[in-house]
Subunit: 348 residues, 2 copies
């Protein structure tokens, strides 16, 4: 995908020229953005609201493989994973800064592709690009994004508020991004061994999109407000369901029972996982990159959410001494670990 | 400097373990930091003040060379260059996020060194570390820092307020960081060719410190307030005096006369530059990395600053059509360019 019809060398523009070129179409749309790109720092005014700050770094060869990740998708995903953290605080993302280190293997056109994905995601989430840094790298591409959001003080949801008896809920479905990655890795392997063979990705749009173009749950803070539900704790699912449950339990000082049969898994995720001889539950527990929201609510709020197709109750919180357990479909209980594997290797 | 007495592999801690290890001594001291590390996002409250955001990325092999930059100094410098941008808005830095991509060539002890420098600079500038990301890299070290600061709306100084007749002022002295770099590069070359020879850096403490451990001008916004001077425009000197003057002129839509004889250059910078057959003026114009503040003030404010040893008037702003010129010691005028070289190559 780096072979565009035209190729402009990065060196032909220089640092300031490149920044100017890439940022020329950036417009400021949020009232809170007083000053964006172009000064030593950006200026923001959230008035009486609190400011939320989150940051993530994506590294070529570690977080993405450009042999199958289009640059536009990569830009989109880089924004998604960052604004997802703001939604996980029950806040609204408003601005981002974008820093990029890039080797001269990339052309100006390649960076334009990357930026077009970044700007598409920004438009979707109504986020302004207010600053950044563009620099050379000796090899590979590194993207570092900081997301800035706002929230009323009484709306912010931390990880540490879950209590015994709270219901554990998750949005959407899980495991798809991981299974999508397996598919892409397999087709890459086939391509490496037999370059003439066309990739067989047909019928797998859903899981491929889950991996390549994840959608941060912009709708959930709005939905929760509409339903008049304030979660007691919340986190986004970036490392896998198991890891996130452990974070909520550790910070809230509670235990948890997670029910395997309740974990929402899309049929295409399920079927492709089986094709790869993977346990779909393990994919949901440990796959990660789903960017769904995991949260706990008071039991009294159950009637408000139970009819909602976007939210699934997957377990409940317990006292700390009862531990953090996965209750399998067979009815037995296994301690949940960050990898999720240990519990499942012992499964009947 | 990577050869510590003990070496703990990064892999022995895992990502969460490493983050916990490196951040265990981080304390929150600012009232505006509501929630720091440990959730999806940090929470900040600047109440009626505006929020300032600035970001910088440092890449091994591009911005620093670990053969002569100690990791502790690197951490210190990474913070300095970021908070410098907040001072350049006439604001006060309050928080930073720190993202690091690192190859397994580095040990846990090496990252501890880096963090000790980061924390030293944070203590100096009274800044809280509120978040970040720690990830592996295939090769080399990348540091991305975002600085967050605050300012009263009427105190913020942008780059675009300079007007015809304003005086152009700079803090401290210039060119030292660049000459310090030449010295380090020379000693590295000697070491590469004859590893037995001890580096000859004696008597060069000042310029070496300017390069290795630059101090962002925390004192200047406070000083300006005390002197009751609000600059009409301001920028920090990261790319060299010439480049920064061009930014101020371009954004303020004015011209400028810069007087070579007024440019403040420390004697040790001057002497070492001559030793390297470099023009000290060129080092000041194009060397960069001085992290001094360059600003313009109304002529009426001159009496307030003239006795101050930290501030030098180096020129004055003109109408745009008069251009941006360097008036040499010989009295002739040359158009100033971003590199500074063109003007000086033609010098009598």
């Amino acid at each position: 995908m780096l072979e565009n019809t035209s190729r402009t060398e990065l060196s032909s523009l220089g640092e300031f020229g490149l920044i100017k070129h890439l940022t020329q179409f950036i417009e400021i749309t949020n009232e809170s953005t007083i000053k964006g790109i172009g000064d030593d720092a950006a200026v923001i005014d959230f008035k009486n609201k609190k400011t939320l700050i989150s940051t993530d770094m994506l590294v070529e060869g570690v977080h993405f493989d450009l042999t199958y990740v289009p640059l536009k998708h990569l830009g989109y995903k880089a924004v998604s994973v960052n604004v997802s953290d703001i939604y996980a605080m029950n806040g609204t993302p408003k601005q981002i800064t974008v820093s990029i280190a890039v080797s001269n293997r990339f052309s100006v056109e390649a960076l334009e592709e990357l930026y077009s994905g970044i700007m598409l995601a920004c438009a979707k989430h109504k986020v302004d690009i207010i600053g950044g840094d563009t620099t050379t790298n000796k090899s590979g591409l590194v993207i570092s994004i900081t997301a800035i959001g706002e929230a009323d003080e009484n709306e912010i949801v931390y990880r540490n508020g879950a209590k015994d008896g709270d219901l554990l809920c998750v949005t959407g479905d899980l495991g798809g991004a991981y299974v999508g990655l397996q598919l892409l890795e397999r087709e890459k392997q086939i391509y490496v061994e037999s370059p003439g063979v066309q990739p067989d990705l047909e019928g797998n749009d859903y899981i491929l999109e889950r991996q390549l173009k994840p959608e941060a749950r912009k709708d959930i803070p709005t939905l929760l407000k509409k339903l008049d539900v304030k979660p007691t704790s919340m986190i986004d699912v970036s490392d896998g369901l198991a890891s996130e449950i452990l974070h909520l339990c550790s910070q809230s000082d509670v235990g948890c029972n997670l029910y395997e049969e309740k974990i929402p898994i899309d049929p295409s995720t399920y079927n492709t996982a089986r094709e790869f001889n993977l346990d779909p539950t393990v994919c949901a527990l440990s796959g990660g990159e789903d960017y769904e929201l995991l949260f706990t609510i008071d039991q009294a709020d159950f009637p408000k959410i139970k009819a909602n197709p976007d939210i699934t109750v997957v377990g409940h919180m317990t006292v700390k001494k009862d531990g953090i357990n996965l209750i399998t479909k067979g009815g037995s209980s296994h301690p949940l670990t960050a990898q999720g594997w240990d519990a499942l290797l012992n499964k009947e």
